[in-house]
Amino acid sequence: MSIIVWQLGTVVSIVPETPRVKTFTLKLPNWTPHRAGQHYDLRLTADGGYQAERSYSVASPPEQRGEIALTVELVEEGEVSGYLFEGVAVGDELEVRGPIGGYFVWRGEPTSPPLLLVGGGSGVVPLMAMLRHRQHLGLRTPAALLFSVRTPEEVIYKAELEAMAQADDSFALLLDYTRQAPPGWAGYQRRIDAAMLAEVVARFGTATPQAFVCGPTGLVEAVANGLQAAGLPPEAILTERFGPTGG
């Protein structure tokens, strides 16, 4: 498989997803297929040789050959995200290496168990790669995304997720607004808790889903504990945590 060496990708598009989140699509000279859920390291180098590195999850599915989409949240005082938002334009080059990570991945085999995805904020990014991969494969493995955000404007990939849910009965999109819901909202509007997780797990009937949980540490801790309380065994719960210092 891939040797993880640095390569220069070319930015082919920059798409704003929310006021604080953008997707950078890079064309790579040495692209290798990733698994949904993996990440790339991105490295910035200043004239004096100073370097700063961060890891970003790949949002695109492996079917999107030759390029990777990295969805980046602008972090307060973020050295790398700040430069990406202010200093990078289409046509610029960025140094990356990957794909990396062999654990928080979904292969999308026809025999894979149902997919229970729980994301908080930009934690949805690797989960989106899984959903896009599933869509490309045409799988009807039951899947649900419980996506917790503070306000409606923070829903990354909103239109695409809604279209996916419209077109596919076997996929449920469960948005959860913790601070401010849209007018007339009938869905979840509180921090994810054990009762909510029990309801989501119950959607899968007697099947044991494979859970992928990604977001800030507090959310991941609460969800991993709540899913166990709802009856999932620990090995059915995979987690990836975004610290508050994602840079």
Partner: protein
């Protein structure tokens, strides 16, 4: 690729000789784990030394807490790029633990094993001579579960995944046997100063060709 620079990119943070390459300083204590945090009942807790030893030993929680403890104030470096300086721990030096076993001569490597199934590997020499300890107290408080409590191994001169959370014991081996992240393509050794994040970063080209992500 060494000559590439990002135009207009300026460091926002002052350089610090305590910071290994590719790392940045944080004052938070971020958490990185692959699965749920195990909840460990102290009445059943034990710590074991096993594998290539003449006589395995194990301690209960009560017994372990009666071992001589020391304060440690290491800088720690996580492979996910954050470093945290001058952390405050109290715990038992691995040297103290090793006084209780007779190692077999072929014991050269160690697998740290944990509640919840985590493992990580390193050379035995990297645990000796004051290089590593089992931390029980962090910032004056019992170590919390999300940071590896009740007890985590701390090997501060290597990337922090070599410091097993929820540690249950040390298994002494003759060969360097890859642990949880190492089997997934992470470095066998993990020296932050050589930026050995992944297997391809390791010095040994032979080991680099044997496992790929």
């Amino acid at each position: 690729m060494g000559f590439f620079t990002n135009k207009g990119f300026q460091p926002k943070r002052a350089s610090n000789p305590k910071l290994p390459p590719g790392q940045y300083e944080t004052t938070d204590f971020p958490v990185l784990t692959a699965g749920p945090t195990p909840r460990i009942n102290l009445t059943n807790w034990e710590f074991r030394l096993e594998g290539l030893v003449e006589e395995p030993v194990k301690w209960s929680w009560e017994e372990f807490n009666q071992l001589p403890m020391q304060d440690f104030n290491p800088d720690i470096h996580c492979v996910t790029k954050w470093s945290k300086f001058d952390t405050h721990w109290r715990g038992v030096s691995v040297d103290t633990l090793l006084e209780h076993v007779q190692l077999k001569p072929e014991a050269q490597f160690v697998t740290e094993f944990s509640y919840g199934g985590y493992t990580t590997n390193l050379p035995l020499a990297d645990l000796r001579n004051g290089k590593a300890f089992v931390g029980l107290v962090y910032d004056g408080q019992p170590l919390t579960p999300e940071h590896g409590g009740p007890a985590r191994l701390v090997v501060p001169h290597l990337y922090f995944w070599k410091s097993a959370k929820w540690v249950q014991g040390l298994r002494f081996t003759a060969q360097d046997e890859p642990g949880f992240w190492e089997r997934g393509g992470y470095s066998m050794y993990g020296d932050p100063w050589k930026e050995q994040r992944y297997r391809d970063d390791d010095d040994d080209a032979a080991s680099a060709s044997s496992i790929r992500l």
